[in-house]
Amino acid sequence: MKFAIVTFPGSNCDQDAYHAARDVLGEEAEYLWHKDTDLKGADVIVLPGGFAHGDYLRCGAMARFSPIMREVQRFAARGGPVLGICNGFQVLLEAGLLPGAMLRNQSLKFRCEHVHIRVEQIDTPFTAACRKDQVLKIPIAHGEGNYFAEPDVIARLERNRQVVFRYTTPDGEVADAANPNGSAAAIAGLCSEARNVVGLMPHPERACESVLGSADGLVIFESVVQSLKSGGLVARA
């Protein structure tokens, strides 16, 4: 099983995702430079967190034009599993692989802390090993994670069961106080209509070892390994 982690200039969680995939999970992992045009035989692609190209324009707005993104688009179109974490999620939104946009956090401040998210859907490659309604303790670290989409888009996402993660209390209840950034419908993560592209604002790669305060994020990486090994996903780079 080979994870490919895309490094954009300004990515800063690429090494963390690499560590989670290779050192914690024990799978193969390789970096892809944003100017690469070859996915190097990857089975799963991770767009990591950070500030791609500095994010001075709009989060993810520049990164979508990096050469590697054409290959990522093709890979996704073939049904390959793609995970966008934080800035990677923002890149997926900008690239049109997932609908909607990110606004500044309601507090107007960067927020870094552990939050709780509820797994809403388990038929995606990144949640297949979760229980439905399982609550995961995973940290966030972002200034622009306030998910926004028009009401009809939100309705469509709900109808298609594309809302994969929602911010909740530790007991799994949706509540304003448990929504760290003001996201519409408490959305923390989404999947594509075909379900193989998943983006989320929290950082599962930061919650893969109990020494760091939580190992709840590991199940997201284990899910994709399980999905690929069980043959449910066939696309290859």
Partner: protein, 745 residues
């Protein structure tokens, strides 16, 4: 024409100018005058502080690099080095808090990766005026946002620090930033230029007119015209620095460099001079080759610009193409701007025409060194006298605890640290708010603990003792994480050194730091001095901030300062003498800044720290929390905060320091006697712990047990504090946040 007005604008005294003329045997031209002015500024030359700094202990078997390089380095085993340093960015942060703090972070990060180390942790130590004073919130908000904006973007976690509030900082906030990186000990690279003919490369952001004379500004007092100095504050670009960081680390792995240095204070001038000076060589550059952001810049402006995110590299002959290729990959343009020479001169040309030519030695070794007059300040005798019988009405134990827990200096700093990405790089073992910051070292079993501490009020009352207490607190915090303190860095923030009273404070502080570092086994490996911290003639408290780094051989034996569940035995290690002088209690409950700070016995302190580290390593204790601001009572409360609601009941001995019962009780609860730690353990390990303490000669007594949801403290058999933990925790956790909520409402 060089006249007295021109000299004044350059911050040079008449006798210093004469010295310049003697050094080079002629009158300097304007470009040369500018170069001298920044190199001989207090900020770059340490001319007032150097004679004292020389006395600090800087050696030890663990020291791989002491003072004099871009950062210090200590051996942490497994062939690895911890590279670290602290630096101030006080003056820029006062003028423009966001950019001042952001570029402070950027500067210290460059100092670390310049040595070939990957930065893995940031800390900061901040001082402001009272939270309700005009301007404080704007400064605090700007500084915190600036630190966050830079550190979060570049992807280095800000894992801890401290914020204190005192009136003396109202016109002159302190922003001290600490960075630590990891390098292979054998791969540490230095800021040297050598080998005549080797190419000198410039890489990074283009040079603009920003920050011209930053170093001179940082060497002057503030007055009502300081706001006009805004153009001297630089603007940071963390994205550019991230590219530089990755590209430079990649280049360093190729063995193509002779040396490398960042362009910080005094920019191109300082980097060319220092690199040449360290390598015993000369450097010749042509300013017309320097990438420029603005048109029409003069050689003077190019040499003095402090534009951020720029590096100077000396490349081995024949390896230039390799270096250029790596920077190309990162879309950075490495430009050859000159070469190393053998003549020991800094030679600056403009399209081949010489515009400055100065011996490196004249700029560095021949810079003035002053032994300025010292004299104890006249205020001392008055403020050191404290009559505990004349305190007046003493608040109840409950009220005093609430006051202290909610005082901004003690209160939770969550408002700030939740704005910092403190988890990126997935090494952060102890989250902020639990004492020292702790990161694991990937690829090993080890972890590093680090803490920055200082107490300006103590140093105001007694600089010598205050400095020793700062070293003791920083090392003790590291020990309380289970780590053996290995090395230290200092940031010395003071007023105008031309005033004998300030210079006396400085001398006494350095003496105190030296003695404490020697006794506690932490050599100083580098640091920074920030003088002229005055506004309109009012100086800040003398404020040494000490950063200490410690090592846990077994990272999984790390401790934090929280209680971990009910039914644990609570112990007080060390002896309380009821010392209230200079305490947070006197300041908060009685509006008094008086008395002498607590005494410190460095031998007892060392024994205490060794004991805690040994107990942690043997897994005999579950938590350790140092007693500092607010004494035993606040330390106990903090052990409960963040424990998930575990309360505590203790009984401590009564004291007899006053004729007033209330004062005696307050002294026992809130006195700040040094060298004390609250530790918890399970009942089955108690005998072993007490035995170890006795063997180490550390006083240890069981004072109570964890459990329930109350804070209950008896003093001399009388109940002194009895309240729901939630009440105290609310006061502690909401104070700072509330100040910002109010403003919105």
């Amino acid at each position: 024409m060089i006249d007295s007005q021109l000299l004044e604008r350059h911050g040079l005294k008449a006798d210093e100018y004469e010295r310049i003329v003697t050094c080079i045997g002629r009158e300097p031209n304007l470009t040369e005058l500018g170069i001298f002015s920044v190199m001989w500024s207090e900020h770059c030359s340490y001319k007032s502080s150097r004679v004292y700094l020389r006395t600090l202990p800087t050696e030890g078997p663990q020291v791989l690099q002491g003072p004099g390089e871009n950062a210090g380095a200590i051996d942490i085993g497994d062939g690895l080095a911890a590279v670290f340093k602290i630096e101030s960015h006080n003056h820029p942060s006062f003028i423009e808090p966001y950019q001042g703090a952001a570029t402070g972070v950027g500067g210290i990060i460059r100092d670390i990766f310049t040595m070939g180390a990957r930065p893995i942790a940031l800390l900061n130590s901040l001082r402001f005026g009272p939270l309700d004073a005009p301007g404080t919130r704007r400064l605090l908000e700007g500084v915190v946002a600036g630190i966050a904006g830079y550190g979060n973007s570049i992807g280095i976690p800000t894992i801890g620090g401290e914020i204190a509030f005192e009136p003396s900082y109202a016109g002159n906030p302190l922003v001290n930033v600490f960075c630590l990186g990891i390098a292979k000990a054998s791969d540490i690279i230095k800021g040297v230029a050598s080998g005549a003919g080797n190419a000198v490369y410039y890489v990074g952001a283009k040079t603009g007119r920003d920050g011209i004379h930053g170093a001179t500004m940082a060497s002057a007092e503030f007055d009502d015209k300081s706001a006009d100095k805004r153009p001297a504050v630089q603007v940071g670009d963390p994205f550019m620095e991230k590219l530089l960081l990755e590209a430079c680390l990649e280049v360093m792995r190729t063995d193509t460099l002779v040396g490398i240095q960042d362009m910080g204070a005094a920019g191109l001038t300082c980097s060319t001079t220092e690199m040449g000076s360290r390598g015993g060589a000369g450097v010749e550059i042509d300013v017309s080759l320097v990438p420029q952001r603005e048109s029409g810049m003069t050689p003077y402006e190019i040499m003095l610009s402090e534009s951020q995110e720029r590096m100077l590299l000396v490349v081995k002959k024949g390896r230039e193409a390799e270096v250029e290729r790596i920077f190309d990959k990162w879309d950075l343009h490495a430009v050859r701007i000159g070469a190393v020479t053998s003549d020991g001169l800094l030679r600056v040309t403009d399209h081949g025409r010489v515009v400055a030519e100065i011996p490196n030695r004249a700029l560095t070794d021949d810079a003035p060194v002053y032994r300025r007059p010292v004299e104890p300040p006249s205020y001392l005798a008055e403020v050191q006298s404290l009559d505990l019988d004349a305190l007046g009405t003493v608040p109840s134990g409950n009220d005093a605890l609430l006051m202290l827990a909610g005082s901004p200096t003690i209160a939770s700093k969550r408002w700030a640290y939740r704005q910092y990405d403190h988890m990126v790089q997935t090494n952060t073992v102890n989250l902020p708010g639990l004492g020292a910051g702790v990161v694991r070292v990937k690829g090993t079993d080890r972890a590093l603990a680090m803490s920055v501490d200082g107490n300006g009020r103590y140093c105001y009352l007694d600089p010598y003792r205050g400095a020793m207490l700062a070293v003791a607190e920083a090392t003790r915090n590291v020990a309380c994480a289970g780590a053996r303190p290995l090395g230290a860095t200092n940031c010395l923030n003071f007023g105008n050194p031309e005033r004998p009273a300030i210079m006396w404070q400085f001398a006494r502080v350095v003496e105190g730091i030296g003695e404490a570092c020697q006794a506690l086994g932490v050599p100083i490996t580098g640091g920074n001095v920030s003088l002229y911290n005055e506004t309109d003639g009012r100086a800040i408290y003398p404020t040494p901030v000490i950063g200490v780094v410690g090592l846990l051989e077994h990272g999984n034996r790390v401790l934090d300062g929280r209680f971990h569940g009910s039914g644990d035995i609570v112990m007080l290690l060390g002896e309380g003498l009821g010392e209230l002088g200079g305490s947070e209690y006197l300041k908060t409950a009685h509006s008094l800044v008086r008395g002498v700070p607590p005494a410190i016995d460095l031998i007892a302190e060392r024994a205490m720290q060794h004991l805690i580290v040994a107990l942690a390593d043997a897994r005999l204790i579950r938590s350790a929390h140092d007693c500092s601001d607010g004494g035993v009572a606040v330390a106990l409360a903090e052990c409960c905060f963040g424990s998930g609601g575990v309360g505590v009941e203790v009984a401590i001995e009564g004291l007899n320091v006053s004729s007033d019962v209330g004062v005696n009780e307050a002294a026992a609860l809130f006195g700040e006697s040094a060298s004390r730690v609250i530790a918890s353990t399970t009942p089955d390990k108690l005998t072993e712990v007490l035995h170890a303490a006795a063997a180490a000669g550390v006083p240890a007594r069981v004072i109570g047990e964890t459990g329930g949801n109350l804070l209950r403290m008896f003093v001399g058999g009388r109940i002194a504090i009895n309240m729901p933990l939630a009440d105290a925790e609310r006061a502690w956790s909401s104070t700072i946040e509330q100040y910002f909520v109010k403003r919105v409402a």
